[in-house]
């Protein structure tokens, strides 16, 4: 058999073939929509980045001003690219791990259409100035509710899969995904309640939501993917069930309480902030546990990282998760926060989380899932490799200089002898480096989008074997 992953051909309703056939249209549609918003979000990112060191660039038009382009970049990346692709990947993972076909398929496709329309309307709203004005929640409440409702409907499909599953035990990935599909609609619903629109209180809700959107929606999906793909590609079971359990419930217990570490030094009551700092430090436990679990699974099989596109992206993502989480715990400490709060350091930190961890994880997942959904192969080894290196080098070039710049900015800001203007001036070289990194990342995204278009439309000759970087190793 030339292509390894198609060898399991039988007609039972639990066969991989059958499940992937049912998953095809909803998951492909979600991933393709996500990729579209990734490209749009990248364009906005470049605009915002260049505007930071060239303020007159496209400065004449109100709808392209920095204060509108930057929030729209965040919203399209978060609620477009990462949420849509994440939801697609999560559904596919559930179908595989629970051995049950994705239910409600026409509804999922329907809400994905509505989701896209909501993002489009929301984009026009933000660019024309109709913003809710809260970071991570810039879409007006009415638009946000539609998006949350779409994710809720997909979440109902996920719950149905849990209850109609054809396996007895629940794999780790399932816990995380089920949790994510419960948490996001709750988060979105609570954050939209008018009771939190009172002054100052809103800031607390704001950062409770924003931190949890990463911690309780993207992180579980990213970790679910890591827990599935690492053992799958390496061909060994996960190292320890006990550690998985500890990692999951540790995350659920502590991550929920992290949000107020964004409000250190703010007028909100200090004891809430202190609770969040404590919880942020406690996050070290689940993070280290997950890292050990993943490392012990891969150890001895590191050559697979060299050969498998999926594993390379996923391992990069998993390592970034460990790094960014430990960094986050340190950042929450008052003494560190005093320096890095209000600086570009935090922006870079957020990008290690959303890009080096979540986005790389989603790329890796797509490289595994799409050939199985389309019964086709990736058209080019070289382009996948180019995508990996553009993304990897791009995000390192983005975050390392910007974090250095951020620390210098913070130290200068805390020294009253330095004029404020100098604290801004010294960041300019780092901001220019970020624009360069943005070009690399965008180039990687264009390559990825091109490969996705090729594989979905099945252009070109069908390769003999799965696209990996060594012919003898097969992904199954």
């Amino acid at each position: 058999m030339s292509s390894g992953h198609l060898s399991e051909i039988d007609s039972s309703v639990q066969s991989i073939r059958f499940l992937d056939g049912k998953a095809r249209y909803p998951v492909l549609f979600l991933i393709a929509s996500g990729v579209l918003w990734l490209l749009f979000g990248s364009l906005l990112a470049l605009l915002a980045s260049v505007k930071m060191h060239a303020p007159e660039f496209l400065g004449q038009w109100s709808f392209l001003t920095f204060g509108r382009v930057r929030p729209l970049h965040l919203n399209t990346m978060v609620y477009g690219w990462a949420s849509m692709t994440g939801a697609g990947v999560a559904l596919w993972l559930l179908s595989r791990t629970l051995r049950v076909a994705i239910p409600m398929r026409p509804y999922i496709i329907g809400v994905t259409v509505i989701w896209n329309i909501a993002l489009f309307v929301g984009s026009i709203q933000i660019l024309s100035g109709f913003t809710r004005g809260i970071e991570w929640l810039e879409f007006p409440v009415s638009t946000m509710i539609v998006i949350v409702w779409c994710i809720l409907v997909i979440g109902i499909a996920a719950m149905l899969m849990l209850f109609y599953r054809n396996v007895k035990t629940l794999y780790v990935s399932v816990w995380y995904i089920i949790a994510a599909f419960l948490w996001l609609p709750l988060l979105g619903g609570v954050s939209s309640l008018p009771i939190f629109n009172s002054p100052t209180v809103q800031a607390g809700m704001n950062w409770w939501f924003a931190h949890n959107a990463l911690g309780l929606w993207f992180t579980p999906i990213g970790l679910a993917a890591a827990y599935y793909f690492i053992p799958k590609v390496v061909g060994r079971p996960i190292y320890s069930y006990g550690l998985s359990l500890l990692g999951f419930w540790g995350l659920a217990l502590f991550y929920n309480w992290n949000g107020f570490h964004h409000l250190i030094g703010s007028p909100l009551p200090t004891w809430f902030v202190t609770i969040s700092i404590a919880a942020s430090v406690m996050m070290i436990i689940p993070v280290v546990v997950v890292a050990v679990n993943h490392h012990m699974t891969v150890v001895g099989s590191f050559s697979a990282v060299k050969h498998s596109p999926t594993l390379r992206f996923v391992v990069f993502g998993a390592m970034s998760y460990t790094f960014v989480s430990l960094q986050g715990s340190l950042q929450a400490l008052r003494s560190t926060n005093e320096v890095i709060h209000f600086t570009h350091f935090v922006v870079a930190h957020a990008h290690i989380g959303m890009y080096a961890f979540v986005t790389m994880m989603l790329f890796g997942s797509c490289y595994y899932i799409l050939p199985r959904l389309t019964n086709w192969e990736w058209q080019s080894h070289k382009l996948i490799k180019a995508h990996f290196w553009l993304s990897a080098i791009g995000i390192i070039l983005y975050t390392v200089p910007l974090q250095i710049g951020g620390v210098l900015q913070g130290l200068a800001m805390n020294n009253p002898d330095i004029p404020f203007m100098d604290t801004m001036n010294l960041t300019i070289p780092y901001l220019i480096a970020r624009s360069v990194a943005g070009v690399l990342l965008t180039a990687g995204h264009l390559i990825f989008a091109y490969l996705v278009v090729r594989i979905v439309s099945k252009v070109g000759l069908r390769p003999e074997a799965p696209t990996i970087w060594k012919k003898t190793l097969k992904e199954t």
């Binding site: 038009w61 001003t65 100035g129 209850f163 607390g204 007028p267 209000f342 009253p416 404020f420």
Partner: protein, 192 residues
């Protein structure tokens, strides 16, 4: 099936407890301090707040002063430490997370000149050399020198002047400046 329900219950429970702790409790504690209506906010100030939100000023300017001894906010003259009461009547909140530009909690007292703010909004580099703040020309009208005889144009430096034209602020610019000038810790009513 029991396993399903344990999982679902656990997931909802940890979420609900933290939600009460970090959103409902702060609301109960803070609301009594901010619910009194601040009658000092005029129509112009409220409109200006909306324009501040619309143009995304928050992405570069914070509006919270950290306590003395924590950072150098006090030494920089940005004002006393912010209190929950300072933000009455202002939603969305404008606490901010970034200081590409300086904190604005006390800008009305630090820079009380209307003309300075107008020029700064129209062309930041005309009054603040090396600034990377974006210009906001859509808050201004460029008209012929002879038009609107009762309206004076901005006194821009030579290099930013347009021959035969004058730049006059629109109502939106006036509102935004009124809001900025209201950010003044000396004003009674913001202080109590």
């Amino acid at each position: 099936m029991v396993r399903n329900w344990i999982l679902l219950f656990g997931i909802i429970a940890v979420f609900a407890i933290a939600m009460v702790g970090l959103t409902i409790l702060p609301k109960l504690v803070v609301d009594p301090r901010v619910e009194a209506v601040d009658y000092g906010n005029t129509f112009e100030i409220v409109q200006g707040h909306a324009i501040y939100v619309r143009e995304g000023c928050i992405y570069c300017h914070s509006m919270q002063v950290r306590p003395e001894g924590f950072g150098a906010d006090f030494e920089r003259g940005w004002g006393r430490a912010s209190e929950a009461e300072d933000y009455r009547n202002l939603t969305p909140h404008l606490l901010g997370t970034m200081r590409t530009g300086p904190d604005l909690s006390n800008i009305g007292s630090r820079q009380p000149s209307v003309d300075w703010h107008m020029i700064h909004l129209y062309q930041p580099r005309a009054v603040s050399e090396g600034s990377i703040m974006p210009p906001y020309p859509w808050l201004f009208e460029v008209v012929n020198e002879t038009a609107r005889p009762n309206r004076e144009g901005l006194s821009l430096p030579e290099e930013y002047r347009i021959p035969g034209k004058k730049v006059i602020p629109t109502d939106e610019a006036r509102y935004l400046v009124a809001f900025l000038l209201s950010l003044n810790q000396q004003v009674p009513g913001m202080e109590d």
